[in-house]
Symmetry: none
Subunit: 188 residues, 4 copies
DNA sequence: TATGAATGAGACTTCATTCAT
DNA sequence: AATGAATGAAGTCTCATTCAT
């Protein structure tokens, strides 16, 4: 019954992700979104009550996906686990940038957005805990150098994800190179 | 001389920089700006013809400052020069983020903004050339490992600047630690 | 016979009356209406072509009902007739308020609404004529005081209907008390 | 300094009152308002942050005015005081209707509107207290008939204000006639 | 017949920019 | 030179109504 949908919810969230990354949270408009979908602007409101809910749902989906993959990582060897995680994060390089915008979402208008945001924060914490755990174990294993404070090593590792893949290598290769650079250093 | 000075051009650009970094290009409004200055919103138009010119002038000033420092670096020892440059860039960590927003400036309204943007692009190219030059020389000196493609090493180096200084170390110390991590790697 | 009956026309008009009284004509939406019925919003259009027709039909039904009762009143004793009419009007206290909204209905879209509205106006006039007739006869009978202009007595009588029944008395009792107050006055 | 205003705050509130009475709260639009003022719609936002604040400010001004006059009434003779109050209320016949709309104002968006609404409720209570006080004293003085419950007398009195002045008498005369009708009754 | 989906018109609100004092 | 006031363009959102299943 009813008409056929002009765009699916998945298409909507995919496009939202693309546009938020391209234009930033404040540069993201529903007009822009509707121009990149097949339907009219007002149709979007059939699915989400307001702009905030759209962006929150989009971010939730991204981080939920990362969380799922990260939870499946075998943590028995810390360094190996870190490399695997790096691959996951590089695959979803947008994560960081999106999370940076998450704090801009005004949740006073929408309980749905507030709920999504809470999920996002919980997931974020879970991911950070996992990394902390692995880093600490790696340090106890003496796998990491001791002359650099752990927060610096972690910070640089974290920041690695954002490195633009200008050579357009497959993410698996790209991630492995980044890990090699991070672990082994640049000097010969 | 007429009315009392409300705010200087420097104050205006400083506040613009702060607010653009805080809110992103699209989240930056003249209303916001005037709220953080002592005068009225319309007074801003005594200095700049429109929003685009303000942001362009702000970015130009930032990159001109970096360019000046970077030009003064002694390039005789490539690795040493890179470390010095890293310090400069870390000092002006906002540079990257601001440059990312530069492309959003719509120059069709303002020749002044267009001129500033051109300057910015030239300066950006100059800085990139300097880095390429140094990296190439470092590689020829066999100071850098050969098993990782040069673009990867450069990319990671570049990305280093954005690492948030969560320990709030003095920038000189922070920059040195970043360099050590980058050059020597994380493993013990 | 096809799908299950969702809501009857009577339910639709009853709910319309309730909601128009609660929210006023401009605060009455089809969305609101459908939320208080069992079916979908679009199903309403199986019964009426547009919002105006619904409200017009609702008002017509109300005034037709009052008209029917008022026509049956025995007018031989003017004062007695007025008391009986008061009971009828108090029973349908909403009438006044609804008639006040009738003028807001835009009939340019719908001939059906225009026809209903015409009926409403005719009925309204009929009711007013009945009251005028009774009042005039009552005055000729010297049943009413002469020092107050007749329009004032009529106006106060008319306005009586809207008095909120805050003690929640049965309408018959409530109406009788109102009539006593009107006819006998407040002083001891 | 600055341009000359196109309309004053008083003009704005006067017109708001007129239009809210004419169209009801839900039928009142800023577009409508601006069409009845000299300026553009957006200019209104220089003075009030949103629609709710405008209506709240309008109602506050009306009730504050009534409160001021009602407070000045000499209450030594209850019936005389009631007659004087009736005149005041008839003069501001809109009060009741406006107060009915007051509950529709959504204050979640605006603290200013919430504050005004609180004032309105306090003032409303003060006025109701004054009437209750006078009615009770009038009853103790045996000035009012005992066979009708006091709430009915009060209710009818209250409702008197809304009687449309169809003969267009000066309000003083009109009020006196209403009072005479109420106190003495309709019968000869 | 009933309805989910689509949509344009219209209302609210913000903001860059201009104007006039 | 500084600014309060004015304004139109643009974005958010709601709703009556239509469409197609």
């Amino acid at each position: 019954m009813g008409r056929k949908q002009t765009f699916t919810e998945t298409e909507l969230l995919d496009m939202t992700k693309k546009l938020v990354l391209e234009h930033g949270y404040d540069g993201f408009h529903l007009k822009l979104l509707s121009q990149h979908l097949s339907g009219a602007r007002s149709t979007i409101y059939q699915y989400y009550a307001n702009k905030e809910e759209i962006v929150a749902a989009c971010m939730k989906r991204v981080i939920a996906n990362v969380l799922e993959h990260a939870s499946a990582v075998d943590e028995s060897d810390p360094l190996k686990a870190l490399e695997e995680l790096l691959l996951i994060y590089v695959e979803e390089a947008a994560l960081h940038q999106l999370l940076g915008d998450a704090s801009k979402i005004n949740t006073s208008n929408s309980t749905a957005a507030a709920r999504d945001l809470e999920f996002i924060e919980d997931a974020h914490q879970t991911l950070k805990n996992q990394l902390s755990r692995l880093f600490e174990r790696a340090q106890q294993d003496k796998s990491l150098r001791q002359d650099i404070p752990l927060p610096v090593l972690i910070g640089v590792f974290f920041n690695l994800f954002n490195t633009p893949n200008m050579m357009n290598l497959p993410t698996a290769d790209w991630g492995r190179l980044l890990f090699q650079t991070w672990i082994g250093g640049a000097k010969s």
